[in-house]
């Protein structure tokens, strides 16, 4: 499938509107494999490390760095939302809270990283808080946070992506990324629910890459605005 050329244009460039959208072309999987439209983990990590260093050099504080990483991911989230909804060809939008959260933790995660998020939880203490857990997020496979940066998580970028998807869909929320220590005996291998990595296990966990097993998992805390909760509960009636 090739994009059509505008015969009237004097230059040879095609407008972005003429290129076909294609299938999943932005997955990040370990180990390369450019034929099926995926990006290698190494390439992404290299680019991401440069992004982090760029912001690090321009920030005076930890929270500012975190905010910059989040806003970098925010734009991605907005685009992912539109692109994914279009590609699913279902012409349906998410209007319920649980719906959009499940959309993010399964569909968006699968299309970006090749596997669904490891779990979606609801906080017991706070009605408006939900948590998406990923044991092996791509942004921190190769990142180690020095102690003077405290609680900064390199996965703030992914938190920004989640925030972008939620904001675009009309569910305003504050999303923060936290690194939580993995308890002893917790299942840190990719569980099979949600189909996991499909046939063949293409996603390479850090165990396969020869790195020591991860000590922290990423927990994305999603705190919804009050009006979102009000609207959602009014839809229940």
């Amino acid at each position: 499938q090739r994009g059509t050329f505008d015969t009237m244009s004097r230059t040879n460039t095609t407008s972005i509107l003429e290129k076909p959208l294609g299938r999943n072309t932005n997955r990040v999987l370990g180990g390369g494999g450019s034929n099926d439209g995926t990006v290698s983990l190494s390439a992404f990590s290299y680019l991401y490390s440069e992004l982090v260093q760029y912001h690090q050099g321009r920030c005076a504080s930890i929270s500012e760095l975190e905010r910059r990483l989040e806003s970098s991911g925010y734009g991605v989230g907005l685009k992912v939302l539109e692109m994914h909804a279009y590609r699913s060809k279902e012409s349906k939008r998410e209007i319920r809270l649980m719906g959009i959260l499940q959309f993010i933790s399964s569909s968006v995660w699968k299309s970006l990283f090749g596997k669904a998020a490891d779990s979606l939880e609801r906080s017991i203490d706070h009605e408006d808080e939900y948590m998406i857990v990923d044991y092996d997020p791509i942004t921190s496979v190769y990142a180690s946070v020095p102690p003077d940066l405290g609680s900064l998580s390199a996965d703030a970028y992914l938190g920004g992506i989640i925030a972008g998807v939620l904001d675009g869909a009309g569910f305003g929320a504050r999303v923060t990324a936290h690194g939580v220590t993995i308890e002893e005996g917790e299942n840190s291998n990719h569980s099979n629910h949600g189909g996991g990595s499909g046939g063949g296990g293409r996603f390479m966990s850090s165990n396969n890459l020869g790195l020591p097993p991860r000590k922290t998992k990423a927990v994305f805390l999603v705190k919804f605005d009050k009006e979102v909760l009000d609207r959602d509960s009014s839809l229940d009636r």
Binding site: L17, K79, A85
Partner: protein
């Protein structure tokens, strides 16, 4: 007198298509089938008025249906307002005089595809006015094909 005439003229000839973001219109286009007809100021303003006044109704039905295509949300005199909502809650609204649902739906789907492609442009920020001329000309050709 003049107001009545304007309304009937709107039925026959003009279609107003507006893309509305969260706060402001992002794109506007009028499609005339009869280029020779008199375009008076009050006609255009009335079209805009009708379309914008139906925004409230769109907001209401946005959260009760999970379809993207919302069909006709408002009817004023003989003018219908049809709406299509993208996943990012960007509203495509068409003011028309009663075209068939199917042709409008196809038009919206084509523009939706153009919109998604446009939003993949890293230099286009979500919820900002669309100034791309390529987008404009393709939307107009879609309108000629479907409407």
């Amino acid at each position: 007198y003049t107001v009545l005439n304007c309304v009937t003229m709107a039925n026959q000839s003009s279609l107003l298509f507006v893309i509305v973001g969260k706060n402001e219109p992002l794109y506007e286009a009028e499609f005339n089938h009869f280029p020779g007809s008199d375009r008076t100021d009050s006609l255009t303003r009335q079209n805009y008025f009708v379309l914008h006044s139906s925004l409230d109704l769109v907001d209401k039905s946005a959260w009760t249906s999970n379809n993207m295509y919302l069909r006709v949300v408002d009817k004023v005199n003989n003018q219908h307002v049809s709406t299509f909502l993208t996943a990012g809650n960007i509203k495509f609204m068409l003011l028309h005089g009663g075209k068939s649902d199917d042709s409008i739906r196809n038009f919206f789907l084509e523009v939706y595809e153009l919109y998604v492609k446009l939003s993949m442009n890293p230099f286009y920020m979500y919820d900002t006015p669309i100034i791309s001329k390529a987008f404009d000309s393709r939307v107009r050709s879609c309108a000629r094909r479907y409407l």
